[in-house]
């Protein structure tokens, strides 16, 4: 009790964003060695789902499952055993738009499948079903601070349960009249497999909770625009620091308007 500093290791990383289809190909642009080109994103295609399931699955599910399976593969962990946290500021925006439009038009015609896919934990649900995972599963949200708050929740679970824990952070692209009030111009998703111990070879992180406005770590210029496209892109400064593989300190907002931030010290 009263540890206040939590130590953990990032064993696996998943990434899926415009121009950054996975962690391996993202490292060069994250290090600033290669500029991020303008790139449309292909529909993610997680291997866990059959072609039929992939065709029917909502965008949020494809996005979240794609990065989750990348991170588990890199970590060499069996997804069935991992408690998991799925963090998203807005959930599936295309389904939200459908739901609100259909309710305004003909509420009795609402699609039951779209309705059960509209729950914030739909990607978490599909993940546990696809992997046969019966461990604890959560779906969380914290506005612009969703990445930091989700990371904190996953680290707390890993720490409390002494178990590797999966974190998935995603946001889909906004659609319809909602676009005006919801700031998510592009899909973005990332995932970590977090181990509560300091593992050799992994990215070791010491996390402390602090008060105040986060000091933003520098990002290569070609990523500046991407950073503003999605709440989930708040993960970019940490991802860039990990890609550089040098000891570094990164602050991440974990509350509104800079009330509460995570101070992360990375070593190897």
């Amino acid at each position: 009790m009263n540890a206040r500093i939590l130590e953990f290791t990032i064993e696996g990383i998943g990434l899926c964003a415009p121009g950054l289809p996975d962690w391996d190909s993202a490292r060069a642009p994250l290090r600033g060695e290669r500029a991020l080109g303008a790139a449309d994103m292909q529909r993610p295609s997680p291997a866990l789902l059959s072609p039929n399931e992939r065709r029917r699955a909502p965008d949020s599910v494809l996005l979240a499952l794609a990065v989750a399976e990348q991170a588990c593969a890199m970590a060499g962990r069996d997804p069935r055993t991992l408690p998991n946290v799925f963090a998203s500021a807005y959930g599936d925006l295309a389904i939200n738009d459908y739901l609100c439009a259909e309710l305004a038009r003909a509420p009795l015609d609402l699609s039951p499948t779209k309705f059960h896919n509209s729950v914030h934990n739909a990607p978490a649900g599909y993940w546990t079903i696809a992997t046969g995972c019966m461990a604890s599963s959560s779906a969380v949200s914290a506005g612009a601070a969703t990445f930091g708050a989700g990371l904190l929740e996953a680290v707390l679970i890993a720490n409390r349960e002494a178990a590797q824990t999966l974190l998935v952070v995603f946001d889909t692209t906004t659609k319809g009249p909602l676009s005006e009030v919801v700031h998510a111009r592009a899909a973005f998703a990332m995932a970590f497999v977090i181990s509560p111990k300091a593992s050799p070879g992994g990215y070791v992180v010491r996390l402390g909770l602090e008060v105040g406005v986060p000091e933003l770590a520098p990002l290569p210029e070609s990523l500046h625009d991407l950073q503003t496209t999605s709440p989930a892109a708040a993960s970019l400064p940490l991802l860039a620091a990990l890609a550089r593989r040098e000891p570094a300190a990164v602050d991440v907002a974990a509350g509104p308007e800079g009330t509460c931030r995570l101070h992360l010290e990375i070593s190897f």
């Binding site: 959930g91 739901l99 609100c100 978490a124 506005g143 008060v211």
Partner: protein, 412 residues
């Protein structure tokens, strides 16, 4: 298998639902066995069903400085925070520990989507949200927790859990982890969900809504009644609490929790209830309990055919005949993302008052129910000072399960 946890003190708690505003009103409704369910006049188009509606929300505007958050869900949150002196208890914790040491973790399923629905029903001719709707901070899942944090002047970690009907049960687990890690000294947990077209027409599209008041665990049950509720509790480390406690039995504790996944189906439970059983097992292990020590289980008991059959079978095989079980959704309706906290509050009221509520509206128990299930109210066993132990189950879409274990420690 998880380790046993140190219990956390519940130093303030409250709920507001169709059955009553505040603990005293809810306790009176439980005792009198009077339901809060009424015929539906809420939806934008007619839908024959019964709902657990909190009266007067339409007229309960937020203070001007919080008007950007105005939505039915925040109105119910605001109303709920003022019952049982909860706002004052939260302020006392803020003063005692500092605003940055009090975390907020709230559960909700649909948050303020009712306001987004309204924005879509009232689009301008240009197809855009009205200027007023564009100014609002309500069109996202986190609006509830953001509102509560601002309204109470708190500055610690702030998170929304949205795992459908287990949302505001899981917040207790998150709170225990924050306290254990020393990242907060008090955690305000709870949840709010309000009636909206999304859930009424959504559950209707799945064929899960009854045309009569719900009858949990009844042989002839035919679906759920939806409701709305706000509930809050303040959790502190048992060793540290004291000053902020007021007007609450000082022996109430969160002693365990279990979280699990069914890994089965998005909208129907695991046929053998394996996920539910894992959650119950983990709650018992963390609490250091044998199933035989549990006095009462407040069930998820939605009155859907599938949930009640699976849950009753798990309880029948996992608990002895001395344990009592019931669902209190006959009083409140299924309040979805608020069900976890509402039923945690009802469980705590039950522990304090020594009254075990029997299922309301239920006429003939489903034969799958074991001897644990009761239709009439009963009293907790033993003398008034004995340790009382109760569980509260919450199971959600996506196969998301949570079981909470509470105790009123022995007073003698």
């Amino acid at each position: 298998m998880p380790d046993r946890i140190a219990s956390a003190s519940i130093t303030a708690y409250t709920a507001t639902c169709a059955a009553g505003r505040g603990r005293e009103a809810i306790a009176a409704a439980l005792k009198a066995r009077s339901t809060g369910l009424t015929a539906n006049t809420f939806t934008s188009q007619s839908l024959k069903c019964f709902i657990g509606r909190v009266a007067g929300l339409e007229d309960a505007a937020l203070p001007a400085e919080l008007s950007a958050y105005d939505a039915r869900n925040q109105r119910l949150a605001w109303l709920g925070l003022r019952e049982d002196g909860f706002t004052e208890h939260a302020a006392a914790a803020r003063e005692r520990y500092g605003a940055d040491r009090v975390a907020v973790v709230l559960g909700t399923s649909t948050s303020s989507i009712g306001e987004t629905e309204l924005a879509y029903r009232t689009l301008g001719e240009d197809g855009r949200f009205t200027p007023a709707q564009r100014e609002k901070r309500v069109h996202e899942p986190h609006s509830l927790s953001a509102f509560v944090q601002v309204a109470l002047g708190l500055r610690g970690p702030c998170l929304t859990v949205a795992t459908a009907c287990s949302s505001s049960a899981k917040v207790f687990a998150s709170a225990e982890r924050l306290l254990h890690a020393g990242l907060a000294d008090a955690v305000l947990v709870g949840g709010v969900d309000t009636l909206c077209d999304s859930v009424l027409f959504g559950f209707n599209s799945l064929g899960l809504v009854s045309d009569e008041p719900c009858r949990p665990f009844d042989r002839d049950r035919n679906g759920l009644s939806l409701g709305e509720a706000a509930g809050f509790a303040l959790l502190e480390r048992a060793a540290q609490e004291g000053a902020s406690r007021q007007g609450v039995d000082r022996h109430l504790r969160l002693i365990g929790y279990g979280e699990s996944s069914d890994a089965h189906h998005m909208s129907s439970p695991h046929p053998q209830g394996l996920g539910a059983e894992h959650a119950i097992d983990d709650a018992l292990v963390r609490a250091g309990l044998d199933a035989g020590q549990v006095d009462y289980i407040n069930c998820h008991g939605t009155a859907s055919r599938a949930n009640d059959e699976v849950e009753a079978a798990v309880i029948a095989r996992r608990f002895s005949a001395r344990t009592r079980a019931s669902s209190t959704k006959g009083w409140t309706g299924h309040t979805l993302g608020a069900a976890g906290i509402l039923e945690a509050v009802i469980t705590l009221i039950s522990l304090e008052d020594g009254l075990i509520p029997g299922c309301l509206n239920t006429r003939v128990l489903d034969p799958v129910c074991g001897p644990q299930f009761i239709l009439d109210n009963e009293k907790f066993p033993g003398d008034g000072g004995a340790r009382r132990i109760a569980l509260s189950n919450s199971f959600g879409f996506g196969g998301n399960n949570c079981c909470l274990a509470f105790a009123r420690e022995a007073t003698t």
